[in-house]
């Protein structure tokens, strides 16, 4: 090593590892919120680096809406097994069965907002005092205001107007009983940074991110995958397209984009010329201008 400065990816990595270790240093029972998406995979990989040669000291917690991509679930199970970490699954179906929440009605009904109750119930049941998430500030305007250590009150709520100031590297993770924290180690990463890093580190991700042939339906300008949960409208038609996904959410709301990018390198190249944000294909964010802010205040990821 001849230079004594880091490039930006190394600096982002170092910062994320610092946050993860700080979570471990300050909290009693932290978990990683694991969706099977690239950001939570990245967090898990960074946690492996942060605690090597010890095992990742956090359980992975997945909030399962029941509307999953089967590939993402398989990936989740394989990764947990390979790392030897505990996997906690909170089930939205169970919350519905227990009468904790009711299914949304209407044409664009999803289970997206229902996850909040299941998430908060799971955190309480397992006495989690810090849930580590893969949220990034570049994703969405409400997320741009997030702290590394973000306080949630007894009701799991976020109060964006009254956040603790965060200075230098000094993170205040103090809370009263019943409250908890969310930690966001990759706050400062952009989508491009994530792809560059995943490529550089040769980190495996679900094949859904790479271009593949799939049966899809055009809805609100995106290609929604065909699945057992899809209710076709009279004017809709299932077609086969070569697509890939930029984010992975519920199979019912995550739209793919037409693409030929079937390697990590090609994705990096494609992302660098993208003219729309990655959440542009998520119908959960399109509901209103403040859809994310409203859900986050209630306790969303």
């Amino acid at each position: 090593m001849s230079t004594y400065y880091l490039n930006y990816l190394e600096e982002l990595e170092s910062e994320a590892i610092f946050i993860l270790r700080e979570v471990w240093g300050q909290f009693q029972n932290p978990v990683i919120l694991f969706s099977g998406g690239k950001d939570s995979i990245l967090i898990t990989h960074l946690a492996k680096k942060a605690f090597h040669p010890a095992k990742i000291p956090f359980a992975l917690m997945h909030v399962d809406t029941g509307h999953n991509f089967p590939e993402a679930i398989q990936f989740r199970d394989d990764l947990a097994k390979q790392l030897g970490v505990n996997l906690i699954v909170g089930s939205v179906q169970e919350s519905i069965d227990k009468g904790r929440v009711a299914e949304e009605k209407g044409k664009n009904a999803t289970r997206n907002a229902l996850q909040i109750t299941t998430l908060l119930d799971s955190l309480e049941e397992h006495k989690v005092d810090c849930a580590i998430g893969g949220g990034r500030r570049d994703e969405e305007k409400a997320r741009a205001k997030e702290r590394f250590f973000s306080h949630r009150d007894e009701f799991g709520q976020w109060d964006p107007k009254n956040q603790r100031p965060e200075l230098w590297n000094l993170l205040n993770g103090k809370y009263f009983e019943g409250e908890h924290f969310r930690a966001f180690p990759i706050s400062n990463w952009t989508e491009m940074d994530v792809w560059n890093y995943l490529t550089k580190e040769k980190i495996e991700i679900p094949s859904l991110y790479l271009a593949h042939q799939r049966d899809v339906v055009k809805r609100n300008g995106s290609w929604i995958p065909n699945s057992e949960f899809l209710k076709l409208e009279p004017n809709e038609e299932i077609v086969s397209k070569r697509i890939r996904f930029r984010t992975l959410g519920d199979i019912t709301i995550t739209g793919g984009i037409e693409s030929d990018a079937d390697t990590m390198e090609k994705i990096v190249e494609e992302v660098s010329t993208m003219r729309e944000t990655e959440r542009g294909n998520r119908s959960d964010d399109k509901r209103s201008e403040t859809a994310m802010e409203d859900r986050k205040k209630d306790g969303y990821f």
Binding site: A54, W168, F176
Partner: protein, 418 residues
């Protein structure tokens, strides 16, 4: 894109909507092609609803519902853009509401501060306030942008007189590096591209300055300080005796085989290995996150610091800090606060408020000693145990502290060790 050498530069902007701060950020994002079409469509749509023709650049920086409704910024917001030369993080801080609290927060990690001056008004109170905070927080570089040059006919004289005014008041502050640029954020003059309207200006456009500022020396590489965050004990096959000290190097450089001293115990040992994840390295420097093992089995825990034998921080229980009060609840005398310093945590009381500083005039006030939100004061602190400290001027990492009120768990103050 090549990323081998591309550094990360964090800068803070301060100012009110009237200065064109949001317009400037919008311009940087727009011209560096960091704005996506769906974001552009959303802003065009909102601009239209507000009755504005075309795109209101300022709206790219709006965040929360209340902010959009009231046309103000409430909290620090972070923005990102990347050019072929660097990645940038902007800490966008509001100019009016709780300005000191938010500016201090944004400034604490910044390499550079962008101070905006309206060419029609010249140096005003707000300019002095921002510059004072930038100097207090020891931001290494300051870029003064004289904005709205289009409204003063791109006048070189106007620009020069503002520069002179700035030089005059800032000579009383500790600032290392200042540059001045005449711009028009609205039209993009000297922001990303060189202005055709100001051929008299010999300097570079703002983005070029940001891309080329020398920032490798912003972090102290002389005084080696390694605060231990956590101890790694794998207790698995092949690593039965492994004891790794994990942390982020705060400053300086460490090499395998070097003699080190552990503080506060004073034990000495030698570095056996340094790891970045699974990779073993021969040397490591700030701000790398590493895990170290030592030759000897010494008792080390979170909050301890590994340093070099011949270059040690001060171990003190009483010291002075410049304190910025950040909370609605004022300072309570004789209250024990929790002090957080690197990975260390102790109790602290404020023994004495020495003086308060008026951020607009830089004058000291030794009469009024009540500390409330946004106040800045020099105070004498006493901690329950010795802390391993450096002065903030020498070391931003080991020279900074925060105070937490245990009755609310909130961060109530930030301090720079004198």
């Amino acid at each position: 894109m090549k990323i081998d050498k591309n550094q990360l530069l964090r800068f803070t902007t301060a100012g009110s909507v009237d200065d064109g701060k949001s317009t400037l950020i919008g311009r940087l994002l727009y011209d560096s092609k960091s704005i996506f079409e769906d974001q552009l469509a959303a802003v065009k749509n909102s601009s239209k609803q507000k009755g504005i023709e075309g795109v209101d650049l300022a709206m790219f920086t709006d965040g929360l519902k209340d902010e959009r409704e009231q046309g103000i910024t409430i909290d620090v917001a972070y923005r990102y853009f990347t050019t072929p030369k660097r990645k940038f993080i902007i800490a966008d801080t509001p100019g009016h509401i709780q300005y000191t609290r938010n500016m201090v927060t944004g400034a604490s990690t910044a390499n550079a501060a962008v101070v905006l001056i309206d060419a029609r008004h010249g140096v005003i109170e707000q300019t002095k306030r921002h510059t004072f905070i930038a100097s207090l927080l020891n931001i290494p570089h300051i870029i003064v942008c004289v904005n709205k040059m289009d409204l003063v006919s791109y006048s070189e004289e106007t620009f020069n007189s503002i520069v002179e005014e700035f030089e005059e008041f800032s000579s009383k502050l500790l600032i290392k590096d200042v540059r001045y640029i005449p711009i028009s954020a609205l039209d993009g003059d000297n922001v990303v591209n060189r202005s055709e309207n100001m051929a008299w200006f010999q300097g570079s456009p703002m983005l070029h300055e940001l891309e080329t500022l020398h920032i490798s020396s912003d972090i102290n590489k002389i005084d080696a300080r390694f605060p231990v965050q956590t101890v790694l004990r794998p207790q698995r096959k092949g690593f039965e005796d492994y004891r790794g000290y994990a942390g982020r190097i705060a400053s300086g450089i460490y090499r395998v085989n070097e003699e080190v001293t552990i503080l506060p115990s004073g034990f000495t040992s030698k570095i056996k290995t340094i790891n970045v994840g699974e990779t073993e390295v021969e040397e490591a420097f700030a701000p790398m996150s590493v895990a170290m093992t030592l030759e000897d089995d010494v008792d080390i825990s979170r909050g301890n610091m590994i340093v070099k034998k011949n270059n040690q921080p001060k171990l003190l229980q009483e010291f002075d800090v410049m304190l910025c009060w950040l909370n609605n609840a004022p300072l309570k005398s004789r209250t024990k606060y929790t002090i957080m310093h690197t990975s260390n945590e102790q109790k602290a009381v404020i023994k004495e408020v020495v003086y308060k500083v008026d951020v607009n005039t830089f004058k000291r006030n030794e009469e009024d000693k009540d500390l409330t939100m946004n106040d800045i004061a020099r105070v004498k602190l006493k901690t329950s145990h010795r802390l391993m400290i450096d002065s903030y001027r020498d070391n931003r990492s080991t020279g900074s502290i925060i105070l937490v009120d245990e009755s609310t768990k909130e961060t109530v103050a930030a301090g720079m060790i004198v």
